[in-house]
């Protein structure tokens, strides 16, 4: 009896294997990962890309001098090491020997020099050229004040050595070189193909993957770069489908057409207990800013009262995405994060400040309107703030919402008394968040500026000792979030994802940069096709690493 059953199983197995062989499709050994992109990448030119969609593809096609580890520390990538010379003013990067482009040509420091000068060239019209304004003469060259690119402080000393001269010591410079805009590009390819150089038939890359297919508006497919010198990735094919609607992406995940997906806020509660659910903080802060140039918010007591009157602990409940309420501006996961800084909820103190400003119990307070750009989440937050200010200050404020670009133009021409904005980190250094409100920043819509604050920010950027930097940023945060209060920090965002259980090696980081080269498959027995499990067959997709 037993033997007969075994034989039957064996026959079935044999049949299965034959079937698999005949169909020409390997069962579950496909080393492909499929993900959703939030839209068509506006460009795959590292010098011109400014958005997350393009960046999430580019980060897998190219390799810069440095890359991030899980804790967002810059670690060597194309550079083997670097020296900091002249008191932090000069960086000398040494490239790993033997690195190649996808067409086999050796990677040279000259490729970096070309890429950086191209980024800064006013003809390129790159929106992110300012990322390299710390480099000597970079800003002047970009503005057209210097015509010759040879004056710019980046130079290939040899095939493997790249010298970068900075305007002033810059503590976070190795973080900047993880960023897409600093990636090397090939002069001959760009000159031969012009703006079509990023099409699959022309594109030459130096990262773990090459661009195999780009069906515009539909999908981008990456294949292995045969000349990549680093460890060969397990995943041989990465397909990004452009799916703008998060609920659609979730459907595709459910039908096993995607391996990873970002969860829409309304679906989070349904998946929170799933083993596939992954949540991690994201370096993006949301705040409400005041127009400090106009009454009533030109009075710091009123600004402080408004900040003290918000119970932010309810925000995660309202937004449902596990957002982290914040009183300070530097987000969790970044150097100098300090939850002890800032104005915590204190309605009694808020009312006292308001009374001192001449509005006891909110009486006589002028009519003001808080303005935000139209999204469901922004509306929820605005309504909550409105109710908090009414309850704790006795002030009824109006709400107004606008379409995004409309809103941006309103902010730059005539900032409303209170407005919502956010900021996502370009590189994980507090300077990127704190210099937002410096006097020289073009992004500061509050009209607030403070010489003491500016001086601290400037010093902190040049300081090389971490302990001193943290102290300086603590001081600056106290000015920003406790003393002057041009903004009320509200919360730090999170990323909520579903990742199939058989996909391993996904190491999330707070920049939400997803390197595909570390991913691999590991099938659990439960994940096997039922017939395989019944027949006791070995797992064909078992990954060996």
């Amino acid at each position: 009896m037993h033997g007969a059953r075994l034989r039957l199983r064996f026959a079935l197995c044999f049949g299965l294997v034959l079937l698999a062989a005949c169909s020409g499709r390997e069962p579950d050994t496909r080393r492909e990962v499929r993900l959703a992109l939030a839209g068509e990448p506006p460009t795959l030119d590292p010098g011109l890309a400014t958005d997350n969609v393009s960046h999430s593809v580019l980060i897998n096609l190219f390799e810069g001098l440095t890359e991030f580890d899980a804790d967002l520390r810059p670690i060597p990538a194309a550079a083997e090491s670097w020296e900091v010379l002249d008191g932090g003013r000069v960086y000398l990067f040494h490239l790993k020997p033997g690195l190649r482009w996808s067409d086999g040509r050796p990677l040279s420091a000259v490729d970096f020099e070309y890429a950086w000068k191209r980024l800064l060239d006013p003809i390129t019209a790159s929106e992110y050229a300012y990322f390299l304004f710390d480099v000597e003469n970079a800003a002047e060259y970009n503005r057209g004040e210097i015509k010759s690119p040879s004056a710019v402080g980046v130079r290939a000393l040899s095939d493997l050595d790249l010298e970068v001269r900075l305007v002033r010591p810059t503590a976070y410079f190795p973080s900047l070189t993880t960023f897409v805009v600093t990636f090397p590009v090939r002069r001959d390819v760009i000159e031969d193909h012009g703006k079509l150089w990023t099409e699959p038939e022309n594109m030459i890359t130096n990262g773990p993957y090459v661009l195999e297919t780009w069906d515009h508006e539909y999908r981008v497919v990456l294949g292995l770069n045969p000349n990549y010198a680093g460890r060969r990735p397990f995943v041989e094919r990465v397909t990004f489908y452009m799916v703008e609607v998060e609920a659609t992406a979730l459907s595709l995940y459910e039908t096993n057409d995607l391996e990873m997906v970002k969860l829409p806020p309304e679906a989070i509660s349904a998946y929170r207990d799933s083993e596939e659910f992954v949540r991690y903080p994201f370096l993006r802060g949301t705040y409400y800013g005041f127009n400090v140039k106009k009454a009533p918010f030109n009075d710091v007591r009123v600004r402080r009262a408004f900040a003290l009157a918000i119970d932010k602990s309810k925000l995660p409940e309202i937004l449902q995405g596990g957002e982290l309420p914040a009183n300070s501006w530097v987000p969790k996961g970044m150097l100098a994060y300090n939850p002890g800084v800032g104005l915590a909820f204190d309605p009694a103190r808020a009312r006292a400040l308001l009374a001192a400003a001449g509005y006891p119990e909110g009486r006589g307070f002028p009519e003001v309107t808080a303005v935000f750009n139209t999204t469901p989440e922004n509306l929820l937050v605005a309504q909550y703030l409105q109710s908090q200010w009414k309850k704790n200050l006795g002030i009824e404020i109006g709400l107004d919402n606008m379409e995004w670009k409309f809103y941006l133009s309103r902010l730059s021409t005539d900032p409303p008394p209170i407005f919502r904005l956010g900021w996502g980190a370009d590189f994980p250094d507090p300077d990127n968040f704190m210099s937002l409100f410096a006097g020289w920043s073009g992004v500061n819509q509050t009209g607030w500026s403070n010489a003491g604050y500016d001086e601290i920010i400037r010093r902190a950027a040049q300081e090389t000792a971490t302990v001193t930097r943290i102290e300086l940023y603590d001081r600056a945060q106290r000015i920003l979030c406790e003393e002057e209060v041009p903004i009320i920090p509200l919360y730090t965002s999170t990323v909520n994802m579903l990742v199939k259980r058989y996909l391993r090696g996904f190491v999330p980081n707070a920049m939400d940069i997803r390197y595909m080269k570390g991913l691999y498959y590991r099938h659990t027995r439960a994940g096997l096709p039922p017939l395989f499990r019944w027949a006791g067959l070995p797992n064909p997709g078992e990954a060996v690493r």
């Binding site: 839209g39 068509e40 506006p42 460009t43 030119d45 011109l48 400014t50 006013p122 019209a125 790159s126 929106e127 050229a129 300012y130 800003a139 970009n142 503005r143 703006k195 079509l196 990023t198 069906d215 515009h216 508006e217 539909y218 489908y241 452009m242 799916v243 703008e244 609607v245 609920a247 659609t248 459907s251 595709l252 459910e254 039908t255 057409d257 379409e403 995004w404 670009k405 409309f406 809103y407 941006l408 133009s409 309103r410 730059s412 904005l421 956010g422 900021w423 370009d426 073009g442 992004v443």
Partner: protein, 305 residues
Amino acid sequence: MKAILVRLLLAIPVLWGVVTITFLMLRVTPGGPFDREKVLPPEIKRNVEAQYHLDKPLWAQYGLYVKGLLEGDLGPSYKYVGRDVSRIIADTFPISATLGFLAFAFSLSVGIATGIVSGLRAGKWEDHLISGLASVGFSVPSFVLAAFLVYILSHWLHLLPPALIGSWKHFIMPTLVLAAGPTAYIARLTRANVIDTAVKDYIRSARARGVAEWRVLLQYVIRNAVTPVVSYSGLVLAFLITGSFIVEHIFAVPGMGRFFVTAVTNRDYPLIMGVTCVLAVVIILGNLVVDITLALLDPRLRERT
């Protein structure tokens, strides 16, 4: 033939009007293509705007655009760096058009067929069923219908993929959702006309002359009943083949319809102009085809033109 030529010539000032009005409306709308959360430093914004001639006075920009248009150049997209609008339209329009024609064929065949059945069996259960379904198809918003179909056909029955393209199966749900409204409308239109025509004197006299019942239906009732459907279908066809924002969005179909919304939110001026021009041309052509078809169906119209 001469009438067709005149119509085509008349289309030129219409198109020119569309281009000019759209161009001006875009420039009046607040917010520009390079307004960002991460505000660009002024020198960089200058470089970018110079690249797209946005630093020139408005009349010069208009002149450049019209000149390009006459040379068949719709300009570069501001959002999709390095891609020309003509290229983007050439990539996406065929997909929208395929979906649109499928939906159109479905609406016409199913709409007319059910409308006839419903009209001939007016007041009977078939009529109630069809009219009921038509009311649903007409009034349920397409995103609701899409979500419902995805739930039933993809998640529950595992019959169809929930989104993307790649096989014929992928086209079924988008086609159904796109066709729902027009099908329902055509069914109701046909039903009303069938009921209306069936009591006309010439039908009675045809029957009295002993014309076979199927001939009465086919040659007299139906032929007359579909005329209003034909005039309606021109505009429907134009909108169906230029794509639908909602359907393409929900089913992740890489068509042109999404740009009617996303290009506006991005303030991608040349792309908005491009898709608007395509829509205008298609509407003009659609109406022309309708008029020709009507002339073929109705000899009286042919004599007049």
